[in-house]
């Protein structure tokens, strides 16, 4: 940090001063450097402290964060039917799976999966698959909830935006999505009532 000459404005005087005085000014220079660096640092911290509220206001507000939970009655979903409910602004798929679908989902080898996960790890009751209906690629809602919709090559869900195929356990099998459809936190309150969130 030593500059030579240490202080610019003192240059004219410096020429006349003796060596001991020069050392003094060098020490002064170091002190001055310290003061300069310290004030820049303080100004930087101050600026960051002022900027933070301006930036952080964009993060979710307290009312948005207040994690809402919903209760869903699943007794009216027949085998092979699905319903979509809204939780935290996102669609949640609840499917009453057929025996066939459960068997297929459980018999898949982990080595065949892009994001390996067992079907039993994705459900608390194998009959009911509960997951967030948002494609993990870029956030579209996959098709396959309603009768007649395209269900993709693995008889599950198909995202029309960029062509991701999900199987009957909501696991990604083909297409650009990196991971399986997300499972929200939920519990069975009774046999036919689940609480999401």
């Amino acid at each position: 940090m030593i500059r030579s000459p240490p202080i610019k404005c003192g240059e004219g005087k410096m020429a006349k001063t003796n060596t001991s005085k020069q050392e003094d000014t060098q020490v002064d220079g170091r002190r001055r450097d310290f003061i300069v660096v310290a004030s820049y640092a303080m100004a930087g911290i101050g600026a960051a402290a002022v900027a933070w509220p301006l930036i952080d206001q964009m993060n979710p507000a307290a009312d948005t964060l207040a994690l809402a939970s919903i209760e869903v009655d699943i007794s009216k979903i027949d085998i092979g039917q699905s319903i979509t409910v809204k939780w935290r602004g996102k669609p949640v798929f609840i499917r009453h799976r057929t025996e066939d679908e459960i068997n297929t989902a459980q018999s898949v080898e982990l080595s065949q999966l892009k994001d390996p996960q067992l079907d039993v790890d994705r459900v608390s009751n194998p009959k009911y698959l509960v997951m967030i209906g948002v494609c993990t690629h870029l956030g579209c809602v996959p098709l396959g909830q309603k009768t007649g919709e395209i269900k993709g090559e693995y008889d599950g869900w198909f995202c029309p935006c960029h062509g991701s195929h999900y199987d009957s356990s909501g696991r990604i099998r083909k297409g650009p999505a990196p991971v399986n459809l997300e499972i929200p936190p939920y519990t069975f309150e009774t046999e036919s009532l689940i609480k999401i969130g």
């Binding site: 964009m58 948005t64 669609p91 948002v134 579209c140 029309p160």
Partner: protein, 417 residues
């Protein structure tokens, strides 16, 4: 200094204290401009006019628009039906975005063909790419405001691009949304930013013009004017040419507004946003289609996002990829061919971006994407080494007046650079 130029004493008094009149005289009147500019040089001023049209109509539209998820769609419909001349203002703003991009894309291809990015205009070019980026962000956020189905799902897909960033991606997306999905906070901030960003563009445009006026316009021959005999004053020669171009532009613009106002839009955006259902086939606005095709061509999420941003980023370093000292494509026989192949490639990407991501379209998108990067990263650097350019004319005047002294000029340029 030049205060005696003005006969009006009030102007003289002001100019002595605030040299605004000298400045305008210098930059807009006597400003020496190459005498051989063709009509492709109209598109810079057209872009400037488009920006002004967008800002003016945007400000008046904001007076009737409500940025709230429950009212946004209705407020736009109210503008269309009830607000005095609202339909006209909205159609101007809506089609103005498309025309702005048409003009800017032509402006960019002009620069690519005539080597306008080469020394000493590298910063001028970089500022232009920056303007393009700001325009894309502004247009994207503006498209979200009517809160139709395409608005909502466009916003969802584009903001989700950032979730591809490792580790912090999801936090960034939540930060952008202000929640856990695209919702009211998102709409509010997009409106605020959509209002702000055009003024940032104005700022960068001013820098763009300062950089332009440092060395003056490039020209179709690509050699520097060698003296006053090669230039004409900007006024009246190019003011009148720009005004003629503007009148043609405004005629086409008006035709679109009055006869095909929804041609470049998407009918699904007249369906109110529904967060529970994605339309079967979502596409961005046409001016994003080439980049959208690149995004979808890469079968990996992060890779696709990187390729898409890379398609713009590569433009920033273009002045250092094309090392050929010859600016104009007119004198580069091989470059000229590859330029048109590249142009066709961009059109193809635009077409493929609008097609569903399946079958042959995926394959073609990959080929076209590969070619896009190949052009910039391999072909241009290679051409600057292996290509033998045609001889350049010795001066702009000679090229205009049909002078025959063409020999040896190519080497002269090389010496200069």
């Amino acid at each position: 200094m030049s205060a005696d130029k003005f006969s009006n004493p009030v102007v003289r008094w002001i100019d002595h204290r605030l040299p605004i009149f000298s400045f305008m005289d210098h930059e807009l009147n006597e400003y020496p401009t190459p005498k051989n500019l063709n009509y492709f040089w109209n598109f810079g001023s057209l872009a400037g006019v488009s920006l002004v049209i967008m800002i003016v109509t945007g400000i008046v539209l904001a007076m009737s628009y409500t940025p709230h998820v429950d009212y946004a769609f209705q407020s736009v419909e109210r503008i269309m039906r009830d607000v005095n001349h609202g339909w006209l203002l909205r159609y101007i703003h809506m089609n103005g975005a498309s025309f702005f991009f048409i003009v800017v894309f032509i402006h960019i291809f002009r620069g690519l063909y005539y080597g306008s990015y080469k020394a000493p205009r590298e910063l001028l070019w970089i500022l232009g790419v920056l303007i393009l980026l700001l325009m894309m962000a502004t247009a994207f956020m503006g498209y979200v405001l009517p809160w139709g189905q395409m608005s909502f799902w466009g916003a969802t897909v584009i903001t989700n691009l950032f979730s591809a960033i490792p580790f912090i991606g999801d936090s960034i997306v939540t930060f952008l949304w202000g929640g856990f999905s695209v919702d009211n906070p998102t709409l509010n901030r997009f409106f605020a930013l959509h209002y702000l960003m055009p003024f940032l563009i104005v700022g960068v445009v001013i820098l763009h013009l300062v950089a332009l006026h440092r060395f003056g316009s490039n020209n179709p021959i690509g050699i520097d004017p060698s003296g006053p005999q090669d230039t004409v004053p900007f006024h009246p020669y190019y003011t009148i040419k720009d005004f003629f171009g503007l009148s043609v532009f405004l005629t086409l613009f008006a035709a679109a507004i009055f006869f095909f106002p929804n041609f470049m839009g998407h009918p699904d955006n007249y369906i109110p946003a529904n967060p529970m259902q994605t339309p079967a086939h979502i596409v961005p606005e046409w001016y994003f289609l080439p980049f959208y095709a690149i995004l979808r061509a890469v079968p990996d999420k992060l890779g696709g996002v990187l390729a898409m941003f890379g398609a713009i980023a590569v433009l920033f370093i273009l002045p250092w990829l094309d090392r050929s000292p010859i600016r104009s494509g007119n004198f580069r026989p091989i470059f000229k061919i590859f330029f048109w192949v590249f142009f066709a490639d961009c059109i193809a990407l635009g077409y493929l971006g609008g097609m569903p991501a399946e079958g042959i379209y995926v394959v073609l998108s990959r080929v076209a994407t590969a070619w896009y990067f190949l052009h910039f990263l391999v072909i241009l650097p290679l051409l600057s080494v292996i290509e033998t350019p045609k001889p350049l004319p010795q001066s702009l005047s000679k090229s205009v007046l049909g002078g025959s002294a063409m020999a040896g000029a190519a080497s002269a340029v090389k010496e200069k650079v």
